[in-house]
Symmetry: C2
Subunit: 191 residues, 2 copies
DNA sequence: GAGTCAAATATTATCGATAATCGGTCAAAG
DNA sequence: CTTTGACCGATTATCGATAATATTTGACTC
């Protein structure tokens, strides 16, 4: 699935097959997989579309993500000292991207930061699930909608690093969770 | 996927196609879906197998499930009064099944209890994710391995009902989470 | 212009065929 | 006896065809 596809766009099997120089059947197989992942939705005899994520669903995704990342941070804090340098490097890269106004690079480093924590949790099921949420959202972190500037956003990651590096699981949990909720579309959750 | 399949069992496309009076292609599509859900694993040119869930993965699933159900209970507690009767009915049915020594029925009512809470959270993403975990585990609640008898297990759900019915989100969260961890294979988590 | 209907076209869903791959068996060689 | 290579059957992966379904187009009427 290459660029320039928007929620709601049609995915025509024979056309994709032609573009990929293959036949229809493998395309159907791939679409079934994407459907199971929640990226695509299909109706019988009507074909596949990029699934539309409603604002409500996006908010729900953020709420669940906050819980998962909070837990991941708590687990990661057990090995916080080993993760510290890597996390700080991500923040430094975010700062650099922020100064250059490069929001694409910023988003990449931001994602790498969060992934490092979830990977550092050591729970593979948690990581798979977190990735599933990201695939669903497609725009992994919605930077454009954030009410903060990129410099502030980069800095907002530091309390998470500190809590994890200090091995403080409970603080890491709350800090990471709140960070996600702070960046949720339409502001914070009541939860 | 009808009964009597164990982790590691081969799923032969042409055989399944014959049994279902269809052709290979729809079977391959279905297997792709099951693979995306983590139920099946395939290797290229080697076919599909029912995925083996290791003990470690099962423990990780329980840890993540504890977090999700803890959060679900917290959200459900907002509307706890409305959920109380339904939850109590599930516990009553669990008691009844426990008295009759009917562990299949027990498992069904136990699942219905937990599902009612996750549904009561009002977060559809959370529900989908929780269902995904259950599909992965396949044995939804591992009753046979629990160190408690069924009567005690039925009763162990009451503190969750009480916290939710009282609208106490934080208590519901901790109670539900601990309940899942208490029933995790090989005992509790350090987390 | 709007609405209806029929025909044409596009697309989906499945079929059966075929090429490629893999694993097991057996015979020959060392 | 062990190892190696050839062959065969089972299975996977994809192909191209076809039937079924949905959508679009064009003609006609008001």
């Amino acid at each position: 699935m290459t660029g320039a596809l928007k929620p709601g766009d049609r995915l025509v099997e024979l056309k994709i097959a032609g573009e990929m120089a293959t036949s229809q059947a493998p395309v159907r197989e791939a679409l079934r997989e994407l459907e199971a992942m929640g990226v695509v939705e299909t109706l019988r005899n009507k074909g596949a579309r990029v699934r539309v994520i409603s604002d409500e669903e996006l908010r729900q995704i953020y709420d669940v993500r906050a819980q998962l990342e909070g837990y991941a941070s708590e687990l990661a804090a057990r090995n916080g000292a080993a993760l510290k340098a890597g996390l700080e490097a991500c923040v430094a890269k975010m700062r650099k991207a922020a100064r250059k106004g490069d929001s694409m690079a910023f988003a990449d480093h931001n994602m790498a930061f969060h992934r490092a924590i979830v990977e550092g949790s050591g729970n593979r099921v948690l990581l798979d699930m977190w990735e599933t949420l990201n695939v669903k959202m497609r725009t992994m972190v919605n930077v454009a909608r954030s009410s903060r500037n990129l410099i502030d956003l980069a800095e907002s990651h530091l309390p998470i690093v500190e809590a994890i590096a200090a091995g403080d699981g409970a603080l890491a949990h709350e800090t990471a969770k709140q960070h996600v909720l702070d960046n949720k579309p339409d502001g914070g959750s009541v939860s």
